[in-house]
């Protein structure tokens, strides 16, 4: 069976005490880069955690690579990569030890993992730190290890939740280039970020989510023609209804000065 849609969701919803996701319907094709954006608390991370099988309780249906998320969670996890928002690592380990451990969880060959990990660390300029414990690493260094850990098993789909936080300018450019080349090699990338500039440049399609609901879905050109905006930032502001930045900033300054 040829799979055209690698990710599908039907009325995907999630409720904690309040509803954080409300009837999200997605259809994502193989090889697409999806920019998944929204304000804080919009439901981006929750969507990603459901699609990666981390949150098992949800309403609606979802499939990844043709597998039902509820029934075939492990099959999906074998084929996807996930890079979380916070640099969650076992910091008392060295990057090599950590990556070796991750490799074991994917049943990768020990020697191959080690060679691959060493080379990937070198590309990210961490070659000299491969045997140092990560307790002393900066946020950016940890984020690089996290990026490698999410991709070391060469997944078909990559879920990235704010992958650029803490990275320096050179690393951001490198990650952008890696994502573009991954797409060219047929990988699907589901990319959630606040950095509009990057989303605008690399995404084939942009999905905007606000208060748990999908409010826009299309290419940058399509969305832009609807909203008549100059940049994704302006488009985002218009669509999410937060147009009052200028007046909010004015209020902020006047409160400061009155004090």
């Amino acid at each position: 069976m040829s799979i055209t849609n690698v990710i599908t969701t039907q009325d995907l919803s999630k409720t904690y005490t309040t509803k954080v996701l409300n009837n999200i319907n997605l259809e994502i094709k193989s090889g697409e880069i999806i920019g998944y954006i929204g304000p804080n608390g919009a439901g981006k991370s929750t969507t990603i955690k459901i699609l990666t099988g981390i949150i098992p309780d949800f309403d609606g249906d979802a499939t990844v690579l043709g597998f039902d998320i509820r029934k075939d969670t492990l099959e999906i996890k074998r084929r996807i990569g996930y890079i979380p928002e916070n640099a969650a690592l076992y910091e008392t380990l060295t990057p090599l030890e950590y990556l070796h451990f991750i490799g074991q969880l994917y049943s990768l060959d020990k020697n191959q993992t080690e060679t691959k990990a060493n080379e990937l660390l070198r590309v990210f300029e961490l070659g000299n730190h491969s045997e140092s414990r990560m307790t002393t690493f900066s946020k950016g260094m940890k984020q690089k290890v996290l990026l490698i850990a999410g991709m070391i098993h060469n997944p078909s789909i990559l879920f990235l939740d704010e992958p650029l936080s803490g990275l320096d300018a050179n690393a951001v450019i490198l990650v952008k280039e890696i994502l573009t080349q991954l797409k060219q090699s047929g990988k699907t990338i589901f990319y959630s970020s606040h950095i509009m500039d990057v989303v605008e440049k690399i995404s084939d399609r942009i999905i905007i989510i606000n208060k748990g609901e999908m409010i826009a879905n299309g290419t940058y050109a399509e969305l832009n023609s609807q909203a008549q905006s100059g940049s994704l930032e302006q488009l985002f502001t218009e669509i999410t209804g937060n147009k009052e930045h200028q007046s909010a900033a004015g209020q902020f300054i006047s409160i400061l000065e009155n004090k």
Binding site: Y16, I54, Y82, Y90, S107
Partner: protein, 557 residues
Amino acid sequence: MNIESLLLKFLDLLQGLYRAAGVNYEQLRAIVAIKLTMDNRRQVMSFKKKENQEPGNAFAMTLLFYSIFGIFVAVFIYSIPSMMVSMIFFFSYIMVMVAMTLITDFSSILLDTSDNTIILPRPVDGRTLFIARLTHIMLYLGQLTLGLSLIPSILVGFKFGGLFLVFFLIAIVFAVFTALLITNATYLLIMQFASEEKLKNVINYFQIIMAVAMMGGYQLLPRMMGRFEVEDYVFEIDSWSYLIPPIWMGGALELVYYQLFDAPHLILTALCILVPLGGLYITNQYLTPIFNKKLSALGGATEQPAKTKEEKAQKSNLLENISFRVTSNSFERAAFELVYKILGRDRKIKLKIYPAVGYILVFGLVFMIRGNEDFSTLWNNLPNTQYYFVLIYLTFMISQVALYEIPYSDDFKASWFYSSAPVDRPGEILSGMVKAIFTKLFLPIYSVIAALILFVWGISALDDILFGLFNNFLILLIIATIGKRILPLTMAPSAKNQTGNFLRGMLMLLCMALPGGLHYLLSKWPLILMSMIPIQLGAIYLILRSYKATKWSSIQF
């Protein structure tokens, strides 16, 4: 071969069992191995050794430490003629130690949410992850149990024979499993009804109670031991016996040794075997999915209802009222309110300081219990003693512990604002800190102690209570003044320096003894005592003024 590989080799022997339970053994082994490595590194850090050094003999040290404990237990159980009583004592000890270790040392591991983002997104099924966590804990508990039961097992083998020893060892394994299952089930039950925050609070208070119980047990048990005639004690199985796990083990061993196949012994033996085995089956089949589901929700959205605006307003009004009355400017007020709130909220700080409240109780009893008088005689004679002096000055313990601990915090990096804010006289922050300790911790406990003193010694002790109150604040100020001047929450806990503490400690003891001694001398003349209070207040004012004037150059960073 280091201990890690030894433990993993031991696991390899059991891999058939794991696979039969539906576990991916390779993944389980990898998870357990990485957790053992991290444990070792955490131990190294806490012993302040060189970063990359592995503690080769950590296992041997642990074993030795627990074996020393085991010697006392062994001697005690050996001296009890009743086999059933000695077994109940031993298994209570083992199970309490296991449960305590689980709660105090392993709560963070059992409820660790970092696995949610590191392991949960990988192709590891929930059962493998949960059993890996349990295995990791069991390996540690195995070391603990081995240490605790090594010497007792030798003595049991010597006293009751080799065959009995085999059953004894099996019963130990069952006892450990039972303690583990009971603790797990309790956690699950709490998680079912409480939020993550509430669960952490419950564990925190439990840890505090355990710290006090350990100290209390250590101080009080030997004193109370002589009051009971253990030698003559004979245990009879009652209806409530079936509810207490150590009695199951004792009953089962009594059945084996004396061949007692009556109904009570058969029931106890059945419970001893079936509860841990059935519990393991239920854990694997039913509890694991619930636990994993709950665990994946930890660290997510909090489902705790927020406090109402009125509740918040009431609390903050009370604090503002107090801080406005006891502080003189905004820096001092800021420090007072910060320390006041932290003392009530920060779990790690509470864990370090609050056991002192229990110690006051324990030492209060320790100093009271002397000779072989029974409790009622002691209590009746109390009004004829001047024991209230001990109570008045024991309360100081809480202030002293708080003063020692409050400069240290894991979040010490959050103290950047001290450097960036225009603080001219950091002494004001120090005085706010001391006042918060006195108000938040000392005064409530002293009020309870004062009520107790008034109840036992009557209104005539009021002058001593008042003089003692000001004396306690005076002593706190003197100790703060001669001690290291560190702003609250600014130092990493690892920066605690033990050197030079002996001289400082002696000086502090002197500072406590002088005002306390003066109080004792003057207590015979209540009028003189009361007339000394203005002098006390004057001294407090002068010392506080000098303390407030502390400059940046005297502050340790």
